[in-house]
């Protein structure tokens, strides 16, 4: 991979960091390599919002090569929401453009003395004032900067007001509403007075002839794939009807397992009513992005599954237009829709329970389905006004403010996404053990519980409400997805393991096997665990919130709750983790070549 540019915003000094070859071999790229690079820098004492806190933007080895969904990159650091390992995977065109500019990563530390943005063009680095764009939304920011630098085809990654105000779930946006949403890295960027990073380059990528042949074949197969065609035709929210049928789509803040009018907010309905186009990230043949028109003539980003469920069923809002607008508002402010909707859902529940009063809300009525109140709350969160200042700290902290921490549906400070482990039990382990809190992307195991197996690598089908017997399968899936996050490719890309290893070998001139890729995933999963162990994580952190352990009374998952302790016990066994401490055992670390971590964790 190309060098990483280290930028100290306090001193404006830069230097190139050459990635050690053995790290590339062991961790491939993306989030895995990011974890290796930042391992020794992420200490327990480090305040994620301090100048010393690192913010790493990093590509994978196939970034921008037009391979199947390889246009993505990852942003890593220490999360201000969880105080643990942070990573967020993002599409768009920014990562490949950075590579064209001569780098495969940016490693940012320090804090600018005033508000700035960074402009990188073909290896040239410049820091520019940004006071005049502070307060602009993420779309305005991109346009202003492109006009200012006079380069229309530059790509801009930026924050909105939420990042400026250090909302703990602020996101980083690039291009057409592509978001690094989870773990609050937008707040880290804001804490550095860094509004945006614009990049543009002219370097050409060298690709081998064999790679060209394989990428054509893999893209052709990917385009024909049933799942890709669902994503293209009806978007990620095309699965809403089925998820609701299974009782795997939470509503009314995880209290209700049915949402009768799910079709009103589904991806299918969107396609039939407001969809006017589709959008794709760099080189992607799936094009799951939605472009919609709400009748005002404007083309805007349409919501994906998480946004739809978060602002729809979760808050009992049935109007797809309003759900679209709420998602758009979050995007403009640069705020993760999963965490925003989850935290607002908690506020609605506590209001319902009488634990929050009109005095707390400044007179705002938080009744289910009231999208006007939601709209107001989103503004207040982004600007940290009134009760928004408490909500901006996420569900865990918000619940704590009202003596109701256990009502918050979160794990380790990251709000749970909208795939309910009572309907798809593998998600119990995905949420409880993910290195970044309750994350659905480190292992989107709900797909496996629906039936998407990977038999070639031993990821098989277990009944969707099976318990401990699927624990080892979840671990394998986590390793496989960790591989995805290292390449970096999209989890929606159904590309066979055989094809993935062929693509990597063809382009990088290696002799990797499928086992090497899975082992690399396992190595990185354990490395991230080691990072979190050093940050204080023990077995007690591997848990589910109370709400997910109470059975639904109705719907497709009525009466079922995951046996989380039994599942964890089997999971620890499969992982080779120590039940007493929650750390990977010495022999597991040595087996994975993580000898340095043995010293740090065990000596």
């Amino acid at each position: 991979m190309l060098p990483i540019l280290k930028i100290n915003l306090t001193t404006n000094q830069t230097e190139e960091f050459i990635i050690p070859k053995e790290w590339e071999k062991d961790f491939i790229g993306g989030a895995s390599l990011g974890a290796r690079i930042l391992y020794s820098h992420l200490t327990k004492e480090l305040n994620p919002l301090s100048p010393e806190s690192p913010l790493l933007f990093i590509n994978g080895p196939l970034s921008g090569t037009n391979g199947p969904t390889t246009g993505r990159f990852v942003i890593c650091g220490k999360s201000p929401a969880t105080n643990l390992w942070a990573e967020s995977n993002i599409g768009g065109f920014w990562g490949p453009e950075l590579r064209k500019a001569g780098y495969d990563g940016l490693w940012i530390t320090g804090k600018a003395s005033s508000q700035v943005y960074v402009w990188i063009q073909d290896g040239r680095f410049e820091v520019r004032p940004a006071a005049h764009i502070w307060g602009q939304d993420v779309y305005e920011t991109q346009e202003t900067i492109k006009a200012e630098i006079g380069v229309k085809n530059a790509r801009v990654a930026c924050i909105g007001e939420a990042g400026e105000n250090q909302v703990l779930y602020a996101s980083i946006c690039c291009d057409h509403g592509r978001m690094a949403g989870r773990t609050g890295l937008g707040a880290v960027m804001g804490s550095k007075n860094l509004k945006a990073i614009a990049v543009q380059g002219t370097q050409k990528f060298e690709v081998t002839q064999e790679y060209v042949r394989l990428r054509s074949e893999s893209n052709r197969m990917l385009k024909q794939d049933n799942e890709s065609r669902v994503m293209n035709e009806v978007g990620t929210a095309g699965a809403a009807n089925y998820a609701e049928y299974l009782g795997a789509m939470p509503s009314k803040y995880y209290q209700q397992g049915v949402f009768e009018n799910v079709d009103n907010v589904s991806g299918v309905k969107m396609t039939e009513t407001i969809l006017v186009g589709r959008s794709a990230c760099q080189g992607c043949v799936i094009a799951c992005g939605r472009v919609v028109n709400l009748g005002d003539g404007q083309k805007r980003k349409g919501p994906e599954y998480e946004t739809i469920v978060g602002f729809g069923p979760n808050l009992l809002i049935e109007d797809l237009h309003e759900v679209t607008r709420l998602g758009e508002l979050c995007d403009k402010y640069g705020m993760d829709t999963i965490s925003t909707a989850n935290t607002i859902g908690l506020a609605f529940k506590l209001f319902d329970d009488g634990k929050i009063t009109l005095q707390d809300t400044g007179g705002l009525v938080l009744d289910w389905g009231n999208f006007l109140s939601v709209r107001q709350l989103i503004r207040m969160i982004a600007r940290r006004e009134g009760i928004g200042d408490l909500l901006a700290n996420g569900a865990r902290q918000f619940g704590k403010s009202f003596n109701s921490e256990d009502e918050a549906v979160q794990v380790n400070g990251l709000e749970v996404a909208y795939h309910d482990p009572r309907g798809v039990s593998g998600m119990a382990l995905s949420y409880a053990t993910s290195p970044r809190g309750a994350c659905h992307n480190q292992s989107d195991y709900f797909f496996v519980d629906w039936g998407h197996t990977h038999e070639q690598i031993g990821i098989n089908f277990y009944e969707r409400q099976a318990q401990a017997e699927k624990a080892a399968n979840v671990a394998k899936h986590q390793d496989w997805r960790t591989h995805y996050n290292s390449v970096v490719i999209c989890i929606f890309a159904s590309v066979s393991p055989e094809m993935q290893v062929d693509l990597l070998n063809a382009q990088l001139n290696l002799n990797w096997t499928i086992e090497d890729l899975i082992k690399s995933g396992e190595r990185a999963w354990n490395l991230k665990r080691a990072i979190n162990n050093r940050l204080g994580v023990t077995r007690q952190n591997d848990k589910l919130p109370k709400a997910l352990l109470e059975p639904y009374q109705e719907g497709g998952s009525a009466g079922f709750v995951p046996d989380i302790q039994g599942m964890l016990s089997a999971y620890y066994e499969a992982r080779g983790w120590d039940w007493e401490t929650g750390k990977p055992k010495k022999e597991k670390l040595i087996e994975l070549g993580l000898d340095e971590m043995v010293k740090d964790l065990w000596e």
Partner: protein, 136 residues
């Protein structure tokens, strides 16, 4: 009488079962669409096999065994699977969702319609499994 898949008798039994199964009738009450199946030769099946079902509001209006594709040029869905994969679905060895999500069953047609009606699809498979006594 034992029903062997694939056979015309199996298809006729499937038609009869669909038209008498109350559960299917309820779940599939909104389904409007015909299916054209291609079963690719494998194992005991030596030649490509086709069959057709016209499903409408929880009933089966028509079945045709071994039709020519040109007889039904625009079916709502065209489903293609190898013989082993289709028999694995019929015998419960292969989850129908797995078959679709791993391309063991290729689907041509509106994916949105399919996603909105997954319960109907799954119950259709249940009915087909129930009329399958033996595999060729």
């Amino acid at each position: 009488m034992t029903t062997i898949f694939p056979s015309e008798a199996w298809l006729k039994n499937l038609e009869a079962k669909i038209n008498s199964d109350e559960k299917y009738k309820e779940i599939a009450k909104n389904w409007e669409g015909d299916l054209f199946f291609f079963i690719e030769p494998e194992g005991n099946l030596k030649e490509r096999l086709t069959f057709y079902l016209d499903l409408w509001h929880g009933t089966c209006r028509k079945v045709v065994y071994k039709p020519d594709a040109s007889d039904f040029p625009n079916p709502t869905f065209t489903l293609t699977a190898s013989y082993n994969n289709i028999t694995d679905v019929l015998t419960g060895k292969l989850n129908p969702m797995t078959a679709m999500m791993t391309m063991k069953l290729k689907v041509q047609g509106s994916m949105g319609y399919m996603m909105r009606n997954v319960p109907t699809v799954l119950d259709f498979v249940r009915v087909a499994q129930e009329v399958t006594d033996e595999i060729l």
